[in-house]
């Protein structure tokens, strides 16, 4: 992964230049490359139990036999997996003294997003007073969660404190052998969240809305596991509308969701990783495996995503509808601008009877980007009375971008009722003229029209997230007209 090393080097040089020294962190870093030793190193660093080390090693051995998937409509130079570091202890990032030291461009974006000042500081790595309000807020939240028995902690803590739960569910939705990137993640994951909602509990708050700042030091290979016991409910928010940079170019996260009888998980994501410069250089490669298993009857999993960042996005949040009457939903906004490449969509695997799914995908391409929706709806032989509704809309801005829709349907049961609608449209000159005649500037008009186009999906987001996401939609498309 030549690009990765280059970035690491540059970061090193910049820091040297800025602060006059480079910290020796070698001992906290796994050696370059990926071998069995690397995997053992990571596991040892985290003092993991033997079973988890074995689990990782099995994944690693499997990974050695696998090949990178090539079917997605994305292109990038070959990744040298031996030219990367797979573990670095959480960095003590150098704190800045005030917002004056932060890149003004970044601050401007924060402002446009309406992020409060204190949050801006935390995001930009400015030292914040210890008596910061949020500390007590976080404590109150944690207190509340504890009262109802919800577990919400880093994955490594869950391995230590709740090994029986982790061992039972980890890899039960995305097996270690699932796909190249998921297998790689299984071998080397180091960060991530663990959530457990006990039977009958309705989680009293959106998880991670507030915590998202603290969770920001997410790694390259994140691993998230959420378990909703019978009759429970949780809404989980991942990501952040503020632009995020990372020195690691490759990101391969795995997210597993499990719902038991009558349970529901609502998982919302806003992804805004660095997309690279005008030529697409230096942007993040985001190869993610997200899957939910509606294991129990009448359970429900709903994915909502707003994808605006990354140079390459390869991501298909899916639902296995195993329990009878279970329901899967996928709501997606994928925006690509500049040289970004997006290949995203979902899989709805109907195994149980009377299962239903709904897919609403809104792809917006601008600049010279490429935006592909790829979706599978599959109906098992024994799955009676399955219903699916799919709506795929693409919006093109300018004439140098492209949009593609690739729906796959596999039905082995004739009782299934599957509906598919697809549209492709452009922002018309008439619409632009109309908005501008009312005094709305060019970029704001684009933002308004695109937000209208995305409305069905934006409405699925929790309130405060939706407001930021709307602004983000506008910001992502800046410079796409004129």
């Amino acid at each position: 992964m030549a690009a990765v090393r280059e970035t690491v080097k540059t970061v090193g040089e910049v820091e040297k230049y800025k602060y006059g020294f480079t910290t020796d962190i070698e001992s906290d870093k796994a050696p370059l490359g990926l071998t069995e030793e690397t995997v053992r190193f990571i596991s040892a660093k985290k003092s993991e139990p033997g079973w988890l080390l074995e689990w990782r090693l099995a994944a690693f051995r499997r990974w050695l036999t696998m090949e990178e998937p090539k079917w997605a409509k994305v292109s990038y130079p070959p990744i040298d997996f031996q030219d990367a570091y797979y573990y670095a202890a959480p960095k003590q990032s150098v704190k800045l003294n005030s917002l004056d030291e932060v890149d003004p461009k970044l601050l401007e974006t924060y402002k446009k997003l309406g992020i409060p000042l204190t949050e801006q500081k935390m995001l930009a790595g400015v030292a914040v007073d210890a008596v910061f309000d949020s500390v007590s807020v976080v404590t109150t939240f944690k207190e509340k969660l504890r009262e109802v028995g919800v577990i919400f902690c880093p994955m490594s803590e869950a391995v230590r404190d709740h090994p029986e739960l982790v061992q039972k569910y980890l890899g039960s939705v995305v097996p270690t052998s699932d796909n190249f990137y998921a297998t790689l993640n299984s071998a080397v994951f180091s960060e991530g969240s663990f959530v457990y909602i006990p039977e009958g509990v309705r989680c009293p708050m959106e998880l991670s809305t507030y915590f998202r700042i603290n969770e920001k030091q997410t790694g390259q290979f994140e691993r998230t596991l959420i378990i909703a016991e019978k009759g429970s409910y949780v809404s989980y928010l991942e990501g952040c509308t503020a632009p995020q940079r990372d020195e690691n170019q490759l990101h391969a996260a795995v997210v597993e969701l499990v719902t038991l009888d009558d349970a529901e998980i609502k998982y919302s994501t806003v992804q805004n990783w660095y997309p690279g410069d005008e030529d697409g250089k230096g942007g993040i490669y985001n190869f993610v495996t997200k899957r939910g298993d509606c294991r129990g009857a009448n359970s429900k999993i709903s994915w909502t995503q707003v994808e605006t960042g990354s140079a390459i996005t390869w991501k298909y949040p899916s639902c296995i509808l195993r329990g009878d009457n279970s329901r899967g939903e996928f709501y997606s906004i994928a925006i690509s601008n500049g040289r970004q490449q997006v290949d995203s969509g979902t899989k709805m695997i109907h195994l149980g009877r009377n299962t239903s799914s709904r897919i609403v995908s809104k792809g917006i391409s601008a600049g010279r980007s490429s935006n592909t929706y790829r979706g599978l709806v599959s109906v098992h032989r024994k799955a009676e009375n399955v219903r699916n509704f799919t709506q795929c809309d693409s919006l093109l801005i300018g004439d140098r971008c492209s949009a593609h829709t690739v729906p796959y349907i596999e039905t082995k049961n004739p009782s299934a009722v599957l509906e598919h609608e697809a549209t492709t449209s452009k922002i018309s000159d008439d619409q632009m003229f109309y908005c501008r005649q009312r005094g709305i500037g060019e970029e704001e008009a684009v933002a308004l029209i695109v937000n209208g186009f995305c409305r069905d999906v934006l409405q699925q987001l929790p309130m405060e997230f939706a407001v930021e996401a709307q602004k983000l939609v506008g910001i992502s498309l800046e410079g796409s007209v004129g």
Binding site: F433, R436, Q437, I440, N451, G452, D456
Partner: protein, 251 residues
């Protein structure tokens, strides 16, 4: 001072000359009507005043409140006080009428250096303006012009005008497609906005509208030229005789 001063205006679209030397002065407080056969250039004039791309001024000038309009782009002209009620209002899917109105009003206020209205004050204002036009709350919650009937679209245009309070309002066939009650409502809405600081240019095919919105002057546009100007009685005359006498070639 003149609100609008058009001198020898020539306009081409796709290289084809549509307006062939228009002179027109409108003073603050006045309402002028423009009538004329299909294809004579009425909508073209409205677009050119709005600054629409593709409408090239090849000769002549337009001054608005003493300012050369050539300096201003579409949204700047809107913020400066030019409003166009469209002959065919455009659909904006997924954007509620309410959101659209708020975005437009605040964009204009911002451009003029005024404070933006917050949600509460805006809601109050919009309800106040919507009531006399019989625009129900339910319509404000729907996507702008999407699935609106012809009459609803026209009422929504007038609502926008009432909210944005322009200095110069150009109404392009706002009466077409309206039933008689809606026509009265719309005309009342327009009349309510008449005041000494505001001018209006009303494009119509029918004298009937001018019974409700009584103009100070009526112009006949034919073949890209103003071929006759008169008082409100000219509209009655045209109703009887048609445009035959003003055939562009004959003029």
């Amino acid at each position: 001072m003149d609100m609008l001063e058009i001198k020898n205006l020539h306009v081409s679209v796709d290289g084809k000359e549509i307006l062939k030397g228009i002179d027109l002065d409108i003073r603050a407080g006045e309402v002028h009507a423009i009538m004329g056969p299909n294809g004579s250039g009425k909508s073209t004039l409205s677009y050119v005043l709005s600054g629409r791309e593709g409408y090239e001024v090849t000769e002549g000038s337009i001054r608005f409140r003493g300012r050369d309009l050539a300096e201003l782009n579409v949204d700047e002209r809107a913020a400066a006080g030019i409003f166009l009620a469209f002959q065919y209002p455009i659909e904006i899917p997924g954007v509620t009428t309410m959101t659209f109105l708020k975005t437009a009003l605040n964009a204009q206020r911002k451009a003029r250096g005024e404070a933006e209205l917050d949600a509460v004050r805006f809601l109050k204002l919009v309800r106040e303006k919507a009531k006399p036009l019989n625009v129900p709350d339910e319509m404000l919650k729907r996507a702008l012009n999407v699935g609106f009937s012809g009459g609803e679209k026209k009422r929504a245009e007038i609502l926008q005008m009432a909210l944005l309070e322009p200095a110069l309002a150009v109404l392009d066939e706002t009466d077409s497609g309206l039933d008689i009650d809606a026509l009265k409502t719309v005309a009342a809405g327009v009349n309510a906005l008449r005041n000494p600081e505001r001018a209006m240019l009303v494009i119509t095919h029918y004298q009937r509208l001018l019974d409700y919105i009584v103009p100070d002057a009526v112009h006949v546009l034919s073949g890209g030229r103003i071929v006759k100007t008169g008082g409100k009685e000219l509209a009655h005359e045209l109703e009887k005789t048609g445009y035959a006498a003003y055939d562009a070639d004959a003029a």
